[in-house]
């Protein structure tokens, strides 16, 4: 028998998270350009709506009204599938991320998280990897050379950062002893944020999420100056927008993931959220959003500061620097745990 209350709660949470992600994407596309403008002594979009606030909507309308071109030599089914294969996982990933302290409504505890599955971490890693298939498919199915190079690069990129990323997370799993994000956050609430205990892992993870989301300095798969947009060269109109949106969705998820793993999730230091009741929940959500926003800002800052890696240099960085460092981190963590007993 399905509990009506639970069902309703889940539906509301799904809607909130889904809409929240989309609004987040819209804010990000605007923030990206405004921050870039701020960095580069210019204004950025400030005409549409209230000081440029409606620019993302104008962009969306523009994408909808553009002609949708499918190249003659493209493999049509795969060409149509690719944007979906990128977009759907990107929007699904956020489901396991807790975005606030558990809430009490009518005597029942509601977790502020769409799905509390017991392999939350693996779920995120798996879904973000599926997104890469979309990029490879997009690159290959267009039947054109520049996208193909972009697709090749994205698969090369995948194998160079994923291992280090996974190993970095293993350190966190080892000390917190759980695969769900709730466990990891609860552990951090008790003993302090993981950034103090796993600085190396945090460092590796921070680097790899840039590669994960194809952002500068690792945006080799797009590289508009070399590959003319890489895997999405041949895409137009809303199919292109889907790649664009999923990049931002991935960024939001990756930033939230980073916050959950190393910065206590929704935890506010020195404050017991549970004791504050409703305000505590609000505070925890605000804390989560604030931390996530900080990492998103960092994303933008890095993009407009650093040059781009070459793809063999990224592979070198991944295999020769990040991977040994991550292994070392796992070893050290194990050693400390063994000594402590």
């Amino acid at each position: 028998m399905i509990d009506m209350f639970e069902l309703l709660a889940i539906i509301i949470k799904v809607l909130v998270v889904f809409a929240g992600t989309l609004v987040g994407i819209m804010i990000m596309t605007l923030a990206e350009r405004r921050v870039a403008g701020f960095i580069q002594y210019r204004l950025g979009p400030n005409r549409v709506g209230f000081g440029g606030m409606l620019q993302p909507i104008a962009d969306g309308l523009k994408f909808f009204s553009k002609e949708d071109v499918i190249p003659g030599q493209a493999n049509r089914p795969l060409f149509l599938l690719a944007p979906l294969a990128v977009m759907i996982p990107a929007l699904m990933t956020f489901a396991v991320i807790p975005f606030g302290a558990p809430m009490e409504i009518a005597g029942r505890v509601v977790k502020l998280q769409v799905a509390d599955i017991n392999i939350g971490l693996l779920y995120i890693l798996a879904l973000t990897s599926i997104g890469v298939y979309g990029l490879v498919l997009a690159g290959w199915s267009a039947g054109s050379k520049y996208p193909q190079l972009g697709g090749l690069r994205s698969s090369a990129q995948l194998i160079s950062y994923e291992l280090a990323m996974g190993l970095a997370i293993i350190g966190v799993i080892m000390i917190s002893g759980g695969l769900t994000l709730n466990q990891i956050i609860a552990y951090q609430q008790e003993t302090g944020w993981n950034i103090w205990k796993q600085p190396i892992a945090a460092f590796i993870f921070l680097i790899t999420i840039y590669a994960e989301t194809n952002r500068l300095p690792f945006d080799l798969t797009e590289a508009e100056q070399e590959l003319v947009g890489g895997y999405h060269t041949e895409y137009s109109a809303f199919k292109f927008a889907m790649f664009f949106l999923s990049e931002y969705a991935n960024m939001i998820t990756a930033a939230a993931f980073m916050v959950c793993l190393f910065f206590g999730g929704w935890d506010v230091p020195f404050i017991d959220e549970a004791a504050l009741g409703g305000w505590g929940v609000l505070l925890s959500v605000a804390s989560f959003l604030g931390k996530t926003a900080f990492f998103l800002f960092l994303y933008i800052l890095v993009r407009w500061t650093l040059p781009r890696f070459r793809y063999d240099q990224l592979m070198r960085l991944g295999w020769k620097f990040l991977l040994p460092l991550a292994l070392l981190n796992v070893f050290l963590t194990g050693l400390v745990l063994a000594v402590k007993g």
């Binding site: 945006d219 040059p307 070459r310 793809y311």
Partner: protein, 399 residues
């Protein structure tokens, strides 16, 4: 050969880099052959921007052609104006007054800064550092404001005339230039801060697109590209023109001839250019900017044209069709150090009011000729870095 290698036979992919490509900054076509990401062959095809500049020289008289020189190197039109005027003046055997020479030097050096700003910015954009480009662009705009101040236009300056300048600089020009000169170092320091110690930048530029000294000499490379290989060759020092011998500056020389050195040679050259402009402003002599109007090479002052019949006839004689000054039969060439290298106009006169032939020695074309030799073995990503560092101006490539 192992079984796997036999089954996985690979072949090189031919790819068209351009003619319309974000990194070519103009229309330039490179036929590339790729083995994976490695370039095995790169043969450029030029001519997409051919505009018949040289042929036009045979139909336009000496002063009219100055407007065409603007369009050749659209990043530093002032240098082209000066180079052409110098060649025409050598043909006519005239020397412009010191003040005009100094103003020409100021304009050339400001152009050099603007050109380097632009080319370095483009190079940074191609490697992914977009912000550097806009920092540079901001300074370049200020220099263009100065150009607008002296000649009313930002890009198509046409500032020189055979025998002098279009007009003298306005009164507040010196003060305005000093203000810009004080601003430019901030941009140079910003570039330095963003890139010089950036590991990604170093990895992307060092030992990339290396040109050896022998290659530089045998291909006739000049300018920052030759100096980056370690050759101390600067026409401002070797064959001073337009009073360059009056100024004290250093020739910046690199060591390895790679993208990194080319970038740094340009960066430090801008500091030297700042020095030259400062000296020229300090020493800027008073006096006329044109040779004596009685020489019949230069237009008489405007108020005289309206008030005296002699001046009106003089004006008519110079400007009307089938009139104008006619140099003696002969030829002239003055090499100048443009931002990209040796720029010179070779003018052959058959005694008519239009030259018989105008040949342009443009640095971009010569510098680009080495491209096919340095590219094999580099990756696709390096292609854009090398292209940016050679600073190919399509307008100069296809005259």
């Amino acid at each position: 050969m192992s079984l796997v290698a036999k089954q996985l036979s690979t072949e090189n992919v031919a790819i068209n880099f351009g003619p319309s490509h974000p990194a070519t900054h103009g229309t330039l076509h490179i036929h590339m052959e790729l083995d994976g990401e490695i370039v095995t062959k790169a043969s450029p095809e030029i001519g997409y921007l051919h505009s018949g500049f040289e042929k036009l020289g045979e139909h336009l008289d000496y002063n009219q052609y100055i407007t065409i020189t603007d369009r050749m190197n659209y990043l530093s039109p002032m240098c082209n104006n000066v180079a052409y005027a110098l060649a025409a003046e050598k043909l006519l055997d005239i020397e412009v007054p010191k003040r005009a020479q100094y103003i020409r030097v100021i304009m050339c050096e400001l152009s050099r800064i603007a050109d380097h700003m632009c080319s370095m910015g483009m190079q940074a954009v191609d490697i992914g550092a977009f912000t550097v480009f806009l920092y540079n662009w901001r300074m370049r705009e200020k220099i263009y404001d100065l150009f607008e101040m002296v000649c009313g236009s930002r890009l198509t300056t046409s500032y020189t005339r055979v025998g002098g300048l279009m007009r003298d600089v306005p009164e507040d020009f010196v003060a305005a230039t000093r203000r810009v000169l004080d601003d430019i170092p901030t941009a140079l320091e910003q570039i330095d801060g963003l890139l010089s110690h950036n590991r990604i930048w170093l990895d992307r530029t060092r030992h990339i697109g290396v040109i050896s000294q022998d290659q530089a000499i045998s291909y006739g490379l000049t300018g920052p590209i030759a100096r980056a290989t370690g050759i101390s060759y600067d026409l401002r020092v070797k064959e001073p023109y337009s009073s360059y011998e009056d100024f004290d500056f250093d020739v910046i020389v690199g060591a390895n001839g790679d993208v990194y050195d080319r970038f740094n040679v340009r960066l430090y050259e801008m500091w030297e250019s700042l020095k030259i402009v400062r000296q020229a402003l300090d020493k800027l002599p008073d006096g006329p900017i044109n040779i004596d109007a009685d020489s019949k090479y230069i237009l008489p002052p405007r108020d005289e044209i309206f008030n005296s019949i002699e001046a009106l006839i003089h004006h008519f004689e110079i400007t009307m069709e089938n009139r104008g000054f006619t140099p003696v039969v002969g030829e002239a060439y003055v090499p100048t150090e443009s931002p990209n290298g040796e720029l010179g106009y070779y003018i052959v006169s058959d005694g008519n009011r239009t030259p018989y032939r105008v040949r342009t020695r443009t640095p971009s074309l010569i510098n680009f000729s080495v491209f096919h030799e340095i590219m094999p073995g580099q990756s696709v990503s390096d292609t854009v870095a090398v292209l940016g560092s050679l600073n190919i101006i399509a307008g100069e490539l296809d005259r």
